[in-house]
Amino acid sequence: MSDFVRIFVRNRGAVVGVVVLALVAVIAATAGVLFPFSPWDMRGAPFSPPGDPDFLLGSDSLGRDVAAGIAYGARVSLLIGAVSTCVAVLIGVTLGAVAGYASGLIDDAIMRFTEFFQTIPSFVLAVVLVAIFSPSLGSIVVAIAIVSWPPVARVIRAEVLSLRSREFVQAAEVLGRSRLSIICREILPNALSPLIVLASLMVASAILLESGLSFLGLGDPNLMSWGFMIGAGRSVIRLAWWMSVFPGVAIFLTVLALNLVGEGLTDALNPRLARRR
């Protein structure tokens, strides 16, 4: 464990990533303290430029505080990123493990099913799904999870395939342990490292997907999310560039941080390759 931490910390980028993520999380948690009002409240003159004492980052077309929107939006973005990734991982691990372990016809069927999801461009599929379920927090999470699980399934399946012929698995089989317990206790813990890396990147892509959906007006209208703010600011970009720029900075920093952390994790979990740096 200390090896892991030591290697991780050596990667400056990863450390920066962790710091930024922590900052975002803190802002999200303390949004109610920093801005003790609803981000939807119309608090003053519309289109106030940033630097105004009342509106640090400016105000939008209805006089709402952009900084408050970003703080509260951090909650939404992180929440959507985390939850949809969890759901996607759950689906992907289940299907991938079953496919890898069972092999044969079941494996084939699951793989064809996975391929089907990859033939429709995923953003279009997400849009169709949200249109079907009507935009809301739940439907967005489900839609993002549905378009994101195929890579997880494939990775887990590959890991299971390569691990199942190893001795410790054979030993467990000889001992008569059940398939489920073999998968959960022996195989998955070893497949954890690529999964962790993948998960960190999936959170980033979920945030981007959500911003894309909100952009097209398919976000949950009761949640002030970064994507929604950019979408609302897009048509007035000449009057108020700050409405789109600051939420975009927020997304950029968060996604960047997640990528850096992902890289750090990869190095830490594969010390052999890290030596090359």
């Binding site: 995923s122 195929p150 590959a158 490292s193 398919l218 209208p221 897009r234 992902g262």
Partner: protein
């Protein structure tokens, strides 16, 4: 990202595993996301014979600065329509190409088969009706040169123009007119159907006279003959075919001053002067080109840099208007919508408690600051509504048209009186609002609704959908509140009655989907409908306005105005109450 994954995984994996490494969602999301390009090309395309303005960089920057000044312009009250320049306009000049915009792209350009806004705009140059209407909604001769009404007010005689030809060269006769009225539009148009069903008999005593006999006098009858209500289409093309799938729909044939040339979907529609147009010497313009530009910022840019000389209706967003008013080469006109007279409102579903209680609706009306909506959301474009009838529609009575003033205190008192006290969190009751999916500004309106209602203790949850789902939900009565706007078509019997009479409670949009029912209102509308006497009708409409303003079955917001912005070099744009839907037969560039 892929780099990380390569590090972490077995090198000699099978090809399909590599597919697994790539999170398509992320890349697809990036592949898809984009945004408006606010500022852009200043180079002028060379279009036809018309020399474009060439704005210098400074001109563009000035435009941008003017935009930055916008906050100061907000709240200065309604935008005044610019009065025409005091110097006399130059004489009409033949020649030139007009480039303008069409938003959104219509599916089909044949009026009747399709009646939405963009179709009316573009196809209005290709097709014509028997009449058009002046700003006061009096009929003006178009394909019909005159009309007479019999003494019993049941028989209309129209004398047609004599030398009208369709774009394929065939002369237009009374047979085409009768076909258009009795078969084509009756079959296709829900708006025309109930009115034309009143025609007992339609005859053509000679090729240039049409006689229509109604079963009873119907005063608004004359308002049903412009091109948007009843465009005249060629009988020899459409009779006996399936109108909606007739191949001629891809190449429209009408009698208008311009004829269809080509339509590159997603790109532009092109029409050119019809050489055999029945008014000699007209039209002045050589060509009209409608460009399809899906993004609002791109459209504003096109107007600013002179790539288009005219915009109308949905093309330019309200917040961009002040900027264009400030440009000396452009003119902003707000009239031309007297016939359509669109009114926006918050739609109430009376089946949902407690919205069926009149005190609750009055409270909601008191809780809304309509001036805020007008000035902050629509940037002063339009007028605050005063009742169910728009001020430019016939029989509007300013004496009785009064809506609840902005008074949150009164709203809360009314809600208390209705027995809806606030709970521990200050919430009296919760409702949902289904936002109108036709643009950003409607979303802002729904957000304002939520905030305004929250102030008086009503909790609003917003729902968004796209157009297909919205129309279905309204039609199925599957909503609590929503937003809507409807046209009035010049006479309350034609466009207003349908939303308030209990006989029109149907499971289709644009009927009385709210479910409001008041027998007194039904009776008054019936009187106005059946009487041929304007004085009787006026009294009935005055009474019904009084009742409706009190009962607020829908919470009316604004009389919408859609600015038409054009270069000052373009003349004769708004000539009638048809506004930019007019045929542009005498528009010219000079």
């Amino acid at each position: 990202m892929s780099g990380c994954l390569i590090h972490g995984l077995p090198w000699a994996a099978k090809p399909s595993s590599f597919a697994a490494l790539h999170n398509k969602a992320a890349w697809a999301a990036h592949w898809e996301s984009g945004a408006s390009r606010a500022l852009g090309k200043r180079r002028e395309p060379r279009i036809g014979g018309f020399v474009m303005r060439d704005l210098t960089r400074r001109g563009v920057l000035l435009g941008a600065t003017a935009a930055g000044v916008a906050p100061a312009l907000v709240g200065t009250g309604s935008v005044q329509a610019q009065t025409p320049a005091p110097t006399p306009a130059p004489a009409p000049k033949r020649g030139g190409t007009l480039t303008t915009i069409l938003t959104p792209e219509p599916p089909i350009l044949v009026l009747g088969v399709n009646n939405q806004g963009p179709t009316q705009l573009a196809a209005g140059k290709l097709f014509q009706g028997l009449f058009k209407y002046s700003f006061k909604l009096d009929p003006v001769a178009e394909l019909a040169q005159s009309w007479t009404l019999s003494d019993d007010k049941k028989t209309y005689t129209f004398k047609l123009q004599e030398n009208v030809k369709f774009h394929d060269g065939t002369p237009m006769t009374a047979d085409d007119v009768i076909f258009s009225i009795m078969k084509f539009h009756t079959e296709l148009s829900p708006r025309a159907r109930p009115i034309f069903a009143k025609i007992k008999q339609a005859t053509a005593p000679d090729p240039h006279t049409v006689v229509l006999t109604l079963d009873a006098p119907f005063e608004p009858f004359m308002l049903m003959f412009d091109d948007t209500a009843c465009a005249i289409v060629p009988k020899h093309i459409y009779d006996g075919t399936d109108y909606r799938t007739n191949p001629a729909n891809q190449h429209p044939i009408g009698t208008g001053p311009f004829q269809f040339v080509e339509w590159q979907r997603g790109n532009f529609i092109r029409m050119k002067r019809f050489a055999d147009y029945w008014k000699p010497g007209e039209p002045y313009l050589d060509e009209i080109i409608y460009r399809i530009i899906p993004d609002s910022q791109s459209r504003a840019l096109a107007l600013q840099t002179g790539q288009v000389q005219l915009t109308q209706a949905n093309d330019i967003e309200p917040f961009d208007i002040p900027r264009f008013k400030a440009m000396s080469n452009l003119q902003v006109e707000l009239n031309g919508w007297e016939y359509a007279s669109q009114l926006s409102w918050f739609e109430i579903n009376h089946r949902v408690k407690p919205l069926d209680d009149v005190r609750v609706r009055q409270a909601m009306s008191h809780a809304l600051d309509r001036n805020f909506i007008l000035n902050r959301l629509w940037f002063g474009i339009g007028k605050v509504a005063t009742g169910p009838i728009v001020s430019t529609t016939k029989f509007y009575d300013p004496a009785v048209a009064k809506l609840q003033a902005y008074d949150p205190g009164k709203a809360m008192a009314l809600l208390d009186a209705a027995g809806l006290k606030p709970n521990a969190k200050g919430v009296r009751f919760s409702i949902k609002q289904l936002a109108l999916p036709y643009g950003e500004v409607w979303m802002r309106l729904s957000e304002y609704f939520r905030t305004a209602m929250a102030k008086v203790g009503i909790e609003v949850t917003l729902e968004t959908t796209d157009a297909g789902a919205w129309a279905r939900r309204i039609g199925d009565w599957d909503y609590e509140t929503s937003t809507n706007f409807l046209s009035q078509f010049g006479d309350p019997t034609l466009g207003v009655e349908r939303s308030y009479v209990s006989s029109n409670i149907k499971k289709v949009t644009f009927t009385n989907t709210g479910g409001y029912s008041n027998p007194k209102v039904d009776a008054l509308f019936a009187t106005a409908r059946d009487s041929g006497d304007p004085a009787v009708r006026a009294k009935a409409f005055t009474d019904v306005q009084k009742i409706l303003c009190d009962e607020v079955p829908q919470i009316w917001l604004m009389e919408l105005a859609w600015p038409t912005i054009h270069e000052k070099k373009l003349h004769n744009v708004i000539r009638t109450a048809m506004g930019p839907n007019g045929d542009f037969e005498d528009a010219y560039l000079a």
